[in-house]
């Protein structure tokens, strides 16, 4: 086995296998220094490089060749070199470029979060909250498409799509055959099926999970509820589909399972893909073996309704009496 190589990202060093990308090295460190990624998906070969949100600055190419790289690079595609020094959140240039990318992603996005099923678990929403400007400088009519039903379980809202190509790779690599792809070019590009073919195979539902925005939505869940009003519970069943893990999250509202999804990690990537039977047809508690509440990132709006508040409000932090009163609730977070 080759020796591990050292890379420093925002001042934190980590040793990784040769061939690791900057993004994955950052994920090994974890925390705020991990660049956001809208199109890269570690489980999909060939994905990444397109959205440009993960751009970082390479301040030192390697130990041997310490010159910086002339342009910002896509961290999901650039492999680390020994002694590489990367700047992500510490580089104003990177933050500026990322802000620009967010602005570009939003100029043709409908911003219909109030009626979008993805709201609350949308990567674009999170990204624009963290990196975007509060106002758009775009004053023109947005590009629009009609909604399309692609298959009986999935609806496509092309207006919301950011053309990450994840669903295309998913169909190529996870399902048995791809019948959809990207048509046209430039800002007229659209995800579409070939001559109105339906996406109809056992694994098609995974395109919903990989979609970072609300472009591909689950028709069995559409408009049923806001995700932050539902309660996520880990469950599994002994699925007889050979490629399906049967490990899912059930999203409850009261006694009812409103939807079933695959389990997603902290970067929004599914842990294992699930089949359509598990996703669309098993919506009774009796179909499943319940494991327990799903751990949701404390920064997520979904957790705010069900779990303790992640951080004390500033007003609490500033007041001795309130700190004392809330000590239990926030454990160690109050200094």
């Amino acid at each position: 086995m080759a020796d591990k190589i050292k890379v420093t990202i925002d001042g934190q060093s980590v040793e990784v296998e040769p061939g690791t990308t900057i993004l994955n090295a950052a994920r090994q460190i974890g925390g705020d220094i991990v660049p956001p990624a809208m199109c890269y998906y570690s489980k999909l070969k060939g994905s990444g490089g397109k959205c440009r949100t993960c751009l970082v600055k390479v301040a030192q190419g390697s130990e041997k060749d310490p010159r910086p790289m002339p342009k910002l690079v896509a961290s999901c595609q650039t492999q680390v070199m020994d002694g590489m020094v990367v700047e992500n959140t510490t580089s104003p240039e990177v933050l500026e470029a990322r802000k620009g990318v967010v602005e570009m992603l939003l100029i043709n996005h409908p911003l219909d979060c109030p009626v979008c099923d993805q709201a609350g678990e949308c990567d674009l929403q999170n990204l624009s909250f963290e990196h975007g400007a509060s106002n758009s400088r775009y004053e023109f009519e947005r590009r629009t498409f009609d909604k399309v039903d692609i298959g009986d379980k999935i609806q496509l809202h092309m207006n919301r799509c950011i053309l990450c190509y994840r669903c295309v790779y998913t169909a190529d690599q996870i399902t048995e055959g791809r019948v959809h792809g990207v048509l046209n070019r430039g800002d007229q590009s659209e995800i579409s099926t070939y001559i109105s073919a339906a996406i109809d195979n056992d694994f098609s539902g995974n395109v919903i999970d990989v979609c970072p925005v609300g472009a591909l939505t689950d028709k069995t869940f559409r408009f049923k509820n806001r995700v932050w009003f539902t309660k996520p519970v880990d469950a599994h069943r002994d699925c007889d589909h050979e490629k399906c893990s049967g490990n899912v999250v059930l999203w409850y509202k009261g006694e009812d399972v409103l939807r079933v999804t695959a389990r997603k990690d902290q970067y929004g990537e599914v842990e294992s893909f699930i089949c359509n039977t598990c996703r669309f047809e098993k919506k009774a508690t009796s179909d499943w073996i319940i494991e327990g509440p799903r751990k949701i990132e404390e920064t997520s709006v979904i957790s705010s309704n069900h779990y303790e508040m992640a951080h004390p409000l500033p007003v609490i932090e500033k007041n001795e009496a309130l700190i004392e009163a809330n000590k239990k609730m926030f454990h160690k977070k109050i200094k």
Partner: protein
């Protein structure tokens, strides 16, 4: 300063046929290379010649060739980029149409140097009639033993194919071209790996422009050192320039690099001056992607030195006061041209041609076009000018392929050099619909 190499025999009747081309000394480089030189010798000559790629980026060809990976048992490919779509550039079409054998000869010699046994000419879809001409020429080359098995008894085999694109500017980007050639959607690939390591069908590949490949034959014939004597400094050899716009003699000119820009515009041997006795306003020196320069900066550099037609001289001053030789699409604008309209027109082109893969280019090109359209039609705001600069900066350097840069540079440079005109267009919204701004006062004194 008027040595002709590529177009030496352009006026010979029947030069498009094999027999005439051969009679005029054609295919000598194939004989010389295959019979007397090893592939590495040919690469060495090309390196010595110092020739830089004629497609636009100007990367030394010999160096590019030497990067080609040569793993055992893996085929290598040479692909000729004949997807000439840069607005203002039409040199490759002329060369392929008039002297198709010049390209075929270059392809054979280059393929031999690179060890490719299958080579492709990827030609722009709109040039379908040129494809026919090339196929006829290839058939003639096969019939005369210059293509196929065991060429000239040397044991070297080569098959050459012409493949038409389907009408996309982006397929002139080398990796998008390879995707398209493989039968996929023409999206540029994320680099690395570069084509020299994994190109066509994931095999090591060299992609060169038509003019570059055609120039290989004279380099092999005369020797790299001899070729390097032509031109000036690191800009060696001759270059085809597509001259268009408000000039008396638009057309293709083969110039020796180092010719003064002023001579090129005003000499009767070349452009013959500005049409209708008007004054020069601006020049786009290397195809629509390169920064536009006003008259004073195209004739003289910022240091008041004479501006020459060479890679170094044109890029003197960086993007602040310089431009690039690019692909040699030389577009001249007279005093009555509207820079705003021209910039909008370019922006419209890039908006139309963006592949839509990465966000800044996909969304930003459309945005710039809409803002420029608004200014051009008298609905602009003064803040639009800074907005355009901002948007162009957000695109530049942040995309997968150079199309983003190519879309950003013309807009940024037009505003850099002609800001007054943009402001006038916005302030005098009604007037700007009926007349043009004319020359900038600052430029007037400098222009003939």
């Amino acid at each position: 300063m008027s040595r002709k190499i590529l177009l030496e025999h352009i006026d010979v009747p029947g030069i498009n046929t094999f027999d005439t081309y051969r009679k005029m000394g054609g295919y000598r480089s194939v004989e010389k290379a295959l019979k007397t030189m090893s592939p590495d010798d040919v690469v060495e000559e090309v390196k010595k010649s110092g020739m830089r790629g004629r497609g636009g980026a100007g990367f030394p060809t010999g160096m590019k060739w030497s990067f080609l990976a040569k793993p055992v048992g893996v085929p290598r490919y040479l692909v000729c980029n004949a997807d000439e779509s840069e607005p203002g550039t039409f040199k490759d079409r002329y060369l392929m149409e008039k002297i198709p054998h010049a390209l075929i000869e270059g392809m054979i010699t280059s393929s031999y140097a690179l060890g490719a046994n299958t080579s492709y000419i990827y030609i722009r879809g709109e040039y379908f009639y040129v494809l026919r001409i090339l196929e006829k020429a290839i058939a003639e080359a096969y019939a005369n033993g210059f293509l196929g098995k065991n060429i000239l008894g040397s044991g070297y085999d080569l098959d050459l194919y012409v493949h038409p694109g389907a009408g996309a500017y982006i397929c002139g980007e080398e990796t998008a071209l390879l995707e398209s050639l493989e039968g996929k959607r023409g999206n540029p690939r994320v680099k690395p790996p570069f084509p020299a390591i994994a190109g066509l069908y994931a095999c090591p590949t060299v992609v060169n422009n038509v003019e570059t490949i055609a120039a290989i034959a004279p380099i092999v014939n005369m020797g790299g050192d001899e070729y390097a004597k032509i031109g000036i400094g690191r800009s060696t050899g001759t270059k085809l320039i597509s001259a268009s716009g408000h000039i008396n003699n638009p057309g293709i000119y083969e110039i020796e690099l180092g010719l003064p820009v002023e001579e090129f515009i005003y000499s009767d041997k070349y452009c013959g001056g500005i049409k209708n006795g008007k004054k020069l306003k601006a020049v786009v020196a290397g195809g629509s992607s390169v920064p536009i320069l006003p008259a004073n900066l195209i004739l003289k550099t910022a240091n008041n030195e004479e501006r020459l037609m060479s890679y170094e001289s044109l890029s003197d001053g960086g993007f602040v006061s310089g431009t690039m030789l690019g692909s040699g699409g030389f577009v001249v604008y007279d005093e009555d041209s509207c820079i705003v309209r021209n910039t909008w027109n370019f922006a419209r082109f890039y908006h139309h041609e963006s592949c839509g893969q990465c966000s800044p280019c996909r969304e930003g090109t459309g945005w710039m076009e809409k803002v420029l359209h608004r200014i051009e039609y008298g609905h602009g705001k003064l803040s639009d000018i800074d907005l355009l600069v901002e948007v162009s900066k957000k695109i530049e350097g942040n995309t997968i392929c150079p199309l983003g840069d190519a879309a950003a540079w013309p807009v940024a440079s037009a505003i850099r050099h002609f800001r007054e005109e943009f402001e006038w267009h916005i302030k005098e919204a009604t007037l700007s619909q009926t007349r043009n701004f004319g020359l900038l006062a600052a430029h007037e004194a400098l222009v003939k």
